[in-house]
Symmetry: C3
């Protein structure tokens, strides 16, 4: 059983976080919210997303799992204005999800959860450096890096968080000292990442007031931020690209 | 003889109504306005459009017929701001139309009306159900239907006007009771239509305060609405798609 | 030595003037500003651009010449908001240019000036007719001409400046009398030009309060206008297309 009402933009941002990695997802329904874990087909990035029932205007669910076509959901949510209420209701007998936006009523078939890739195991990582940065600022650095390369290096040097990208002939660098950040816990960290994943994520990142980054030396990047009016928690893990020499 | 001045947006909307169906049209000039009848190449939709001389700031015409390239006209009208005055003047000797927008003066060759497909005969239809709906609302339903199918079903069930579209796995439905509509005269009606035509028309539809729909059972859809500041009357007829079984 | 700070929009407009003609340019650095001369690969148009040191918030340079990839520069400048300060600094030892925008720092390799096409010799021309027109008005005429042709004719007839374009069947004409222009010095003038060049230039043209045009009979068009807050002087020369008969 699942029946809930949520503001369109909150649900749209939630769906977007997941759809940067996968086209189809298993939603775990619980009494107090929805959670999704997904890993991209190339096994480079992984997201763990928890949307609290408090993000909803009303939320009722019993434990269960449903399979959703995220692209289709995105298309339907486009029909809603930012503040429209989106009503979601599971029709268990017909195995369909009914989505109501104003006078529109969509009935979409659910996917068989067992046909969707299994939930990844999220590894526990101890990362030495921690940075808290405004979302808009991180997005800007990602956009700047795109101009010169397909890769981006992030790290901490002394008390300075740096983001840099290096092309064949050109380089871009952003250096942010502790007082230019929301917070910084220094540590030995410098890793290279594929820009593709961060570029896809940058629209949602820009909306977040702050992003917590955890970094190590040639270790994955951990991003943690809130969406859906601080009621949706995103934990995103991006594998480093280890340079061959 | 033809010489007239009209606000750019009024003329643009008028041209757009016709150009959703055909690229070239015969304009019938009369002392009190312009009328156009056109049918699309596939014979699925037909429009009959009457633009009153009152839509114009000034209007003088003697009876006649001119052939217009609507795409070209659209291109030229793009040069005008919404409230710019567009001056039209027929140069009979050179068989050209002069279009003045501010300091710009376009001279375009007319098409030979006899080279353009003949005016269709508009069939007289008795349709049992009549609905009056706000243009914006009808557009929204059309857009919603596009998400799941290439076809749209419209009909009346009891006192409720419904619009629905059904894809392979998904369905969208809009149901509007009498009090959610401008007006409703119930009748036995349910017909399937190609979305293409309605999608093309949806931009103009959205601008109309109200749209009169007439429907029957596997019968054509009749749309009647006003453009150009209520001085242009559009009568649009769309053939149903009769399902083969 | 070169170190300067300039408002993003001023620098962007300056780069755009040159990049309508060439992808790479030689910048001549002088104590009081920067100058560039460039000719397009087809030898049809030539620009001579002088950006005064006064366009900059601060400007220090010794005589020299650097080779710039204009496309790359445009891409980097997109990262800046209109009023952002752009800091430019030459790193002579590494042969690189450092571009700082807020916290971003780009380091781009310079091109070898000798690999870039030589500065053209700007011919001295005595053109009989002179017109001063608002940039926005000239842009509008260029856009109008694009609707019917790839060529544009400009000339003066009596006390009237005219711009016209003629397609196979259609024609557009703009006629501007002296009192509709900023200024007019009549003279025998009528020349045909390729629209491509003027279309590319039209965005910058539209920003200029006034454009000085000089014209002759089948002679080049000379455009003179200011960018970068009236501190950048553009002298643009466009060869006529002489009709073969």
């Amino acid at each position: 059983m699942f029946k809930a009402v949520i503001e369109a933009e909150k649900f749209r941002d939630s769906v977007e976080v997941i759809s940067t990695l996968v086209d189809e997802a298993r939603l775990k329904l619980k009494g107090d919210g929805i959670s999704v874990k997904a890993v991209d087909p190339a096994n480079v990035a992984m997201v763990s997303f928890d949307l609290s029932g408090e993000a909803f205007d009303s939320f009722e669910a019993t434990e269960g799992e449903i399979g959703i076509d995220l692209k289709k959901m995105n298309g339907i949510l486009e029909m809603a204005d930012r503040t429209d209420k989106v009503e979601l209701e599971l029709d268990e007998s017909s195995h369909k999800l009914v989505i109501r936006i104003g006078k529109l009523s969509y009935t979409v078939s659910l996917l068989d959860p067992s046909s969707i890739r299994k939930e990844p195991k999220v590894p526990v990582l101890e990362l030495p450096a921690h940075i808290v940065i405004r979302g808009e600022e991180l997005k800007r650095a990602i956009k700047a890096a795109e101009k010169v390369s397909d890769y981006i290096r992030m790290g901490v040097q002394g008390e300075v968080f740096f983001i840099e990208a290096e092309g064949d002939t050109d380089r871009v660098k952003v250096e942010l000292a502790r007082d230019q950040l929301v917070d910084l816990k220094p540590g030995d960290a410098s890793s290279l990442f594929s820009l593709d994943y961060l570029s896809d994520l940058s629209k949602v990142i820009a909306k977040a007031e702050k992003i917590e980054l955890s970094l190590g030396k040639d270790f994955p990047l951990k991003l943690r931020f809130m969406v859906a009016g601080d009621k949706g928690e995103v934990n995103y893990l991006l594998a480093p690209r280890v340079e061959s020499e």
